[in-house]
Structure formats: C-alpha cells, structure tokens
C-alpha cells in the first residue's frame, strides 16, 4: 500500500436478490483528502460504504486499511469503529428515545472507577461537544424532540468526536441549511488538516466543489472513474454520473408564467400550534406555488403541518375552497383534497416492510376507506405508472421499500401523494436525497401541477430550488411568519429577509 493511502477497496462485488448492487468496484482514499463518492440514486454508494463497515457482506473483493495487515472484513459498525472507521449513515440510526448525551456516547460511554457509566462526565462532555458546534441542544433531552436537521448534526458530532482515520459521511447535508453546512465544512477541513481521510456522499454539486479534492463516480453499480477535482468540471461530472449530457440549470418555468386563479384554495387566518408556530395568515390560489423559507427551526415545516393537521392547529380558522373547515386528523385534510409529503422520510414516510406497490397506494387506499380495497390490478397499474414516471429503481414493484436506495424511497413517497391527485399539496423537502437528473424532473412536475390548477407549498433548504419553482415566498423566523416576497425574487432578497431587519 502506498504511504499516503489509508483505505483501498478492490473489486468489491455485492449482489442483493435480483440486483447486482456493486460489480468489481475499486475505491482508494488517501490521507488528508476529502473524497466525493458520486452517482445517481441506486448507483451503489451506500452499499459500498456498508460493505466497508460490515453492514453488508460482500461476495468478492478485498479491503485494506493502513496499519492493519492483510485484507479486512468488518463484522459490524462497532468493529469498523475499532479499526478507525467512523460512519454517519444516510438514514440516521441513533436511538430516538435516548437522550442526546447517551446517543453521543453509545458504545463508548465514559466509565467510573467501578466500571459503571459515568453520567456526569458524559453530560459534561456532550455539552462541550454541542457548544463547540454551536448547536442549540439540551443534551439531557431525548433525541426525538429535535428536528431532523439537528439530529443529523448530532450524528455528525458523534462521528467526528471519535478518533478516526477514515470518516464516512453518507449524505450528511441532506436536511441541513447553509449555515450548518458551513459548520460541517469547517469541521471537515480541520480533520483533513489532521490527516483524516473523508468520504463524502452528496447530491449537491456545489458542495462537492466547495470542499472536495477528488471524485469517484459510480454508475449502476460499476466504477466510472476517479478524478482530481480540477479535471472534472460540473458538466463532465453530470455526464459521468448519468452517462449522458444534461443541463440541470436550464430554466424550467414556462414562458409567460402560470395562470393563477382568482378563488382562494387555502385561506388560513391566525392558525397556530403552541411552541411550534405562532399565529399566521396564509392564502393560496389555484396555480400558485408558494415557498416557505427560513433558517433551521424557523417553523417552516410547522406552518405547513398546522394547515394539514399533522400538528393540529390550536387557534385560528381555515377555509378550503371558501368553506370553513375543521381538521382534526390528516385524513380530514386528505378528504378536502390536501396532501403532505413530510420531511422525515424514515420516521413519517416509508412503511418499511411493505412493498413499493403498497407504499404507493397507501394514501389513496386511506382516502377510499377500509371497505373499498383498491383492486389488485388497479394497484399494480398505479404502482407501475409511478415507477415509470419517477424512474424508481427497484427490483420489482413487490420489493419491500426498505430495500430501495434512499433516493428511490423518496421517489416512492412522492408517488404516493401524486397518486391521490390532490388539489393542494405540501412538499416538505421533496428532493431530499434525490439525484440531480430526477431533481429537475420533480421541479418540472411541481410546475406542471400548478399549471393544472393545483396549489402547492414547497419547502426546501435549497433556496435556488425554490426560486426555480415558486412564484411567491413566505419567510419565517423563530416560529413566526415575518414576511412575503413575490414578483422577481432574488437570492439576496431572500437571504436578507431571512436574516432579519425588514419586517414587511
């Protein structure tokens, strides 16, 4: 092994029933480099990582780690950790019902002289860790109390706190805002300076060019190549991943704009949910796409959830198509023609053990009721339709959804809501974990829905994405709606309003 190499993987091959996830893939990680692992949804990025950390048993190939004789095969994540490989998985796998401090130190709890867990020291060290990262977290609170983004930061904090020579980050930024991403990048650069090799998986191309030194591209389970960052500009990277040229930045808004109706589809007055979102007003007409933006914890998801009844509104009135309504439960909202794609895919999206088909028809079946089973033939047609439309990569429509790659799971959940044909659809981070090609397709789909006279709420931590799709934006700060922007919105304008100052 060369001197400056910390990890080599050679000829890694891995087959799942019906899918060859990896076919003779090579990967090399050097000391003190940040190495992007890129590829479309289902290309095999997470699988490669899991082969390294022992979650998956690969069939052929060899893994070598600097300082260890001979090929290694880890038995599990803990085993990998002992060899200096620290991992943040794509789906956060911490324990929601343990405290933040406990989560930070699982498997490596500080001990007292008697060998019992030293809780006091654990809490002190956890506090220090959180302070270093400037995270607004009480370490004695259960993890589940915090937003997905904070959970993601906590998972990262846990991984970087361990002494490691290889750090793996599988889509760590998928629910982070720019400021958190910046924090993470600072951390990564510090570790790089210390000689840690970092593997970074993401679908955000700008982030790759911001921190990475080298890129390895996978396509359909095979290696396309390894490139120094300077030799693979954006256009070439996309071509390498997709196997064809593609312009992801082309304008998608139709010429002359979308026709906006006159009648209010949604008219919320003074809705609120204690501790989450202060009373707000919001109107939405047919054909409108309204974006909700604001910093982490600003209440942008909470606002949408209060309308949909995911967190039941405690004050205020809501009119849907001019009729005043009371929503006690999401099914009431659905029967009024609403739909909501939640941001936390694992906790509130997928029904892991059910098949892709069952997951797609799930919301539709709920709308029809328990007695009116959707006939199997219709179910299959609907499932096939959305698998094709959203290019879902799955062995078959009967595959359990938990066996799909993260991005493909997300597509299934999008399909679930499109299948209900809602008049009003809330999309909370719909493109989370979705590759660059499909992302554009989904943005186009949003505009198409608006053209069909539907109303949408679009939430994303990526402002560019919202600028591309929304015709109006509501800005939130500290659980309060502080303003609206419309017309030709620019990024600076949004940033300024988010940061504060001009309340409109």
């Amino acid at each position: 092994m060369e001197d400056n190499v910390v990890l080599t993987m050679r000829g890694i091959t891995m087959t799942f029933p019906g899918v060859k996830a990896l076919d003779k893939v090579d990967f090399t990680l050097r000391k003190g480099e940040i190495h992007a692992l890129m590829g479309e949804n289902g290309a095999g990025k997470s699988t490669l990582i899991k082969c390294l950390t022992g979650v998956n048993d690969f069939e052929a190939g060899e893994i070598h780690v600097a300082g260890i004789e001979g090929p290694i095969r880890n038995r599990n994540t803990l085993d990998a950790q002992k060899k200096g490989i620290s991992t943040v998985y794509q789906e956060i796998n911490l324990c929601p019902n343990l405290s933040v401090a406990e989560n930070l130190f699982i498997g490596r709890e500080p001990r007292t002289k008697l060998g019992t867990i030293n809780r006091r020291e654990m809490v002190v060290r956890a506090r220090k860790l959180m302070e270093d990262l400037k995270l607004p977290v009480d370490v004695t609170t259960n993890l589940e109390e915090y937003s997905l983004a904070l959970q993601q930061m906590i998972a990262i904090a846990r991984a970087v706190d361990m002494d490691c020579k290889v750090l793996i980050l599988d889509e760590p930024t998928s629910s982070l805002d720019d400021s958190e991403v910046e924090k993470l990048f600072t951390l990564m650069r510090e570790l790089r300076a210390k000689g840690v090799g970092i593997v970074f998986v993401t679908h955000f191309l700008e982030q790759v060019y911001a921190v990475c030194d080298r890129i390895t591209v996978l396509r359909n389970g095979t290696l396309v190549g390894e490139y120094p960052i300077a030799e693979l500009p954006r256009v070439k990277l996309i071509a390498a991943m997709m196997g064809k040229d593609f312009d992801d930045l082309a304008a998608i808004k139709p010429e002359g704009g979308v026709h906006i109706g006159t009648e209010d589809l949604i008219d919320a007055k003074g809705l609120s949910h204690a501790g989450k979102i202060k009373p707000f007003d919001l109107e939405l007409k047919r054909g409108e796409v309204i974006g909700l933006t604001g910093l982490l914890g600003s209440g942008r998801s909470e606002l949408a959830r209060a309308i949909y009844g995911a967190d039941k509104a405690q004050t205020g009135t809501l009119k849907v198509k001019g009729q005043e309504v009371r929503i006690k439960h999401p099914i009431d909202a659905m029967n009024l023609g609403m739909g909501m794609l939640p941001d936390d895919r694992k906790a509130e999206g997928i029904i892991g053990d059910l098949s892709v088909r069952e997951n797609i028809i799930l919301a539709m079946q709920a709308k029809r009721g328990i007695l009116k089973l959707i006939p199997m033939k219709e179910q299959e047609e609907i499932a096939d339709k959305f698998i094709k439309l959203l290019q879902i990569k799955t062995a078959s429509r009967e595959t359990p959804i938990k066996q799909l790659s993260g991005g493909n799971q997300q597509k299934v959940i999008i399909g679930r809501w499109l299948a209900t044909d809602p008049d009003f659809l809330i999309l909370d981070e719909p493109t989370r974990g979705i590759d660059i090609g499909t992302k554009t397709e989904i943005q186009k789909l949003v505009i198409q829905l608006a053209q069909q006279g539907k109303g949408l709420i679009f939430i994303s931590s990526e402002i560019e994405e919202m600028l591309r799709t929304c015709n109006r934006m509501a800005v939130l700060r500290d659980g309060e709606k502080v303003g609206e922007l419309s017309g030709d919105i620019t990024q600076e304008q949004v940033m300024k309003t988010i940061a504060g100052g001009d309340k409109k």
Binding site: E59, E348, L354, A363, L373
Partner: protein, 358 residues
C-alpha cells in the same frame, strides 16, 4: 445451498418446518411401536364419526386456532399481546350458561331462554372485553400487556361471580353440538374453519390487512397518510375479544358446563406462541394469518404427540417448552446470522479457490 437459504427466509418456513418435524416424530414413534408409519394420518369412521390422531389434533386445536386469528391482528397492529383471551373465554362461557340455565339454577336440561340469545350474549360480552382492552391501549396508550392484565385476572373472577362460584351445567343436546359432532365432523373443527375462512375473505376483499400492517409497522407514517391508528388498534382488540368469545362457547359446550376455573386456562399462551411459531414478529407489523393457524395446530400436535408418547400431563409442558425453544431458535436472528456468515465464508473460500484455478 442458496435454495435452502431462500427457503429458510420464507415466512411460512418456520410453521411448516415445525409441522413436518412433529409428523416425523409421530412416524418414528409409530414405527417403533410396530404400527404402520402412516398411522398418524389414518382417518377412519367409527360409530358414524371421524376418528384418527390427525382428527383429534384438529379438533383439540380449534380453540387455539380461533384465538390465534384475533391475536395475530392484535400483535400486528399494536406490537403487543392480549393476555386476557383465556380469561375472557371463561367469562363468555359463564355468561352463556348463566343465561341458558336461568337465575339460581346449577343443573338444567331445559333452556331458560332461546339458545342463540345465550350464545350471542356470551360472544358480545367477550367483544365488550375486547373493546375495554382496546380503549386502554388505543385510547389511554397503556402497554397492551399491562392493559390486558386487568381482564386476565378480572375476567375469570367476574365469571365466577356470575356463576356464584359454582359449575353450571347445561345438559341439553342442542347445546352440546358446538363441542361435539355435526354429522361425522367434530363441530369445533367446522367452527374454526368458518372463523378462518371469514377472516381470510375479509382480508382478501377489504383493506383491513393494509390498515393493520401500516399502523403496526410505522404509526407516524400511517397517520400522515390518513390512517387513524387508534381506531385500527381498537378494532383489532374488539375482533380479538369476539373470537375469544367464540372459542369460549366451544370450550364450554365441550363439557356442557361453565367451569369458570378451568376453561381457557393458559390458552392465551398457546395463542401467542401460535403467532410467533407462524413466523410473525411479536414486534408487530407484517403478518401472515396462515402462519399463525398452522402454528396453533402445531402446538396442539406437539401436545397430542406427547400424550401419545405417554408423557404425563404434568410433565408435558416441560417437553413442550423444550420443543418450542428449539423451533423458535432455528428462526432467531442470531442463529440465522450465524448460518448466513458461514455460507458467506464458504462462498468466499469457493470464489477464492476458483481464482487460483483460473
């Protein structure tokens, strides 16, 4: 090898495997005793009714099979178990007999009211018990085991109270039918078959299966997608209660008396075991009714076999426990992982060997 691996991953592998195991033991026993090896499967008609060890198993296993249906739904939706079913069986039998015998009577041969009223009342009371359990679990969010512990102890006690702590006999042929014979068939087998068939049809032609599983696998996701988890969990407990009622009537009719102290004792354990033996996770979620049913009859087969082998009824539970431990261990994640690892290592060795040859 990969064929074997695939086979062991099938959900129905475990119950069918256990069933075959039990049959094999029976065959070996028969051969050692000098009977024909197919003795276990022989069915004959004596005195106008069906006879045979298989028939006996099907007959005796009816109550557990009926209970297993409801238990499967409860486990799937709530990730917990209903331990009150045995006790509720006794209560339902008690209610039925008290009504049929009339107040104060302990031994009657004439009904005090139409038989169907007594039976219906017994089943309905059991349904109410289910509703009570469901309310505690779905409404008050009490853990299923704890919630059903209340009726586990109180159900039987209420039954005793109703019967004035006596065994009430209903010595009427019409009532004996449910635990006896209907033409050449044991009626309990027919009742169990009907219960299973109806449930299977409901699962096939309504969305109940999707509702229950979605709620059982991911309550929060199901809620956002428009499923009312509390209502579903409540419904499952009611169904479980109703089936316990039916099983209670069968058990009561077998001895044509409300022996509240002995009806359904320990049967909740058989029902829970049946679900687990059926390859269903007691952690809730995806379920397979057929697995639970086979599981229920397997447990009965084990019991019957043990008696046939001459094991006394006081020792039988010990052997039963050992067999169950073996069967469940085969399917446990740890053992599975061990075999998966071994086969992976073999595969690796094999492909390495190939590499050398090439």
């Amino acid at each position: 090898m990969s064929f074997l691996k695939k086979l062991t991953q099938k959900q129905l592998f475990l119950p069918i495997f256990s069933m075959i195991l039990v049959m094999l033991i029976n065959m070996i026993y028969d051969i050692s005793k000098g009977y024909a090896f197919y003795n276990f499967f022989t069915i004959s008609i004596n005195n106008g009714i069906l006879y045979g060890r298989l028939i006996d198993i099907l007959n005796r296993g009816s109550e557990a099979a009926i209970l297993a249906i409801g238990m499967t739904l409860v486990v799937s939706a709530s990730a917990g178990t209903d331990i009150s079913v045995g006790s509720v069986m006794a209560l339902s039998g008690g209610v039925c007999c008290v009504l049929l015998a009339g107040p104060g009577n302990v031994n009657v041969s004439e009904f005090a009211m139409p038989m169907w009223i007594g039976i219906l009342a017994g089943i309905l009371v059991a349904g109410l018990c289910g509703a009570f359990n469901g309310f505690l679990v779905a409404g008050l969010k009490i853990q299923p085991m704890v919630a059903t512990l209340i009726l586990f102890s109180a159900g039987r006690a209420i039954g005793l109270l109703l019967c004035n702590s006596m065994i009430i006999y209903v010595n009427n042929d019409a009532f004996k039918v449910f635990g006896g014979y209907c033409w050449i068939f044991p009626t309990p087998v027919l009742i169990a078959a009907a219960c299973i068939l109806i449930t299977a049809l409901v699962l096939k032609f309504t969305a109940l299966g999707t509702y229950v599983q979605a709620v059982g696998i991911n309550k929060d996701a199901a809620r956002i997608s428009g499923y009312k988890s509390s209502a579903i969990i409540f419904l499952c407990f009611v169904i479980c209660g109703l089936f316990a009622g039916i099983a209670g009537i069968v058990a009561t009719s077998r001895i044509y008396s409300a022996d509240t102290n002995n009806i359904g004792v320990n049967l909740e354990m058989d029902a829970i075991l049946a679900v687990a033996l059926g390859g269903n996770s007691l952690g809730g979620g995806k379920f397979r009714l057929s697995g639970s049913i086979i599981g229920a009859y397997t447990i009965q087969a084990i019991t019957t076999t043990l008696y046939a082998l001459g094991v006394s009824s006081s020792q039988a539970p010990v052997f039963k426990a050992i067999i169950v431990i073996l069967i469940v261990a085969v399917q446990s994640p740890a053992v599975k992982a061990y075999f998966a690892r071994r086969s992976a290592a073999k595969q690796a060795a094999l492909s390495a060997g190939k590499g050398v040859q090439a």
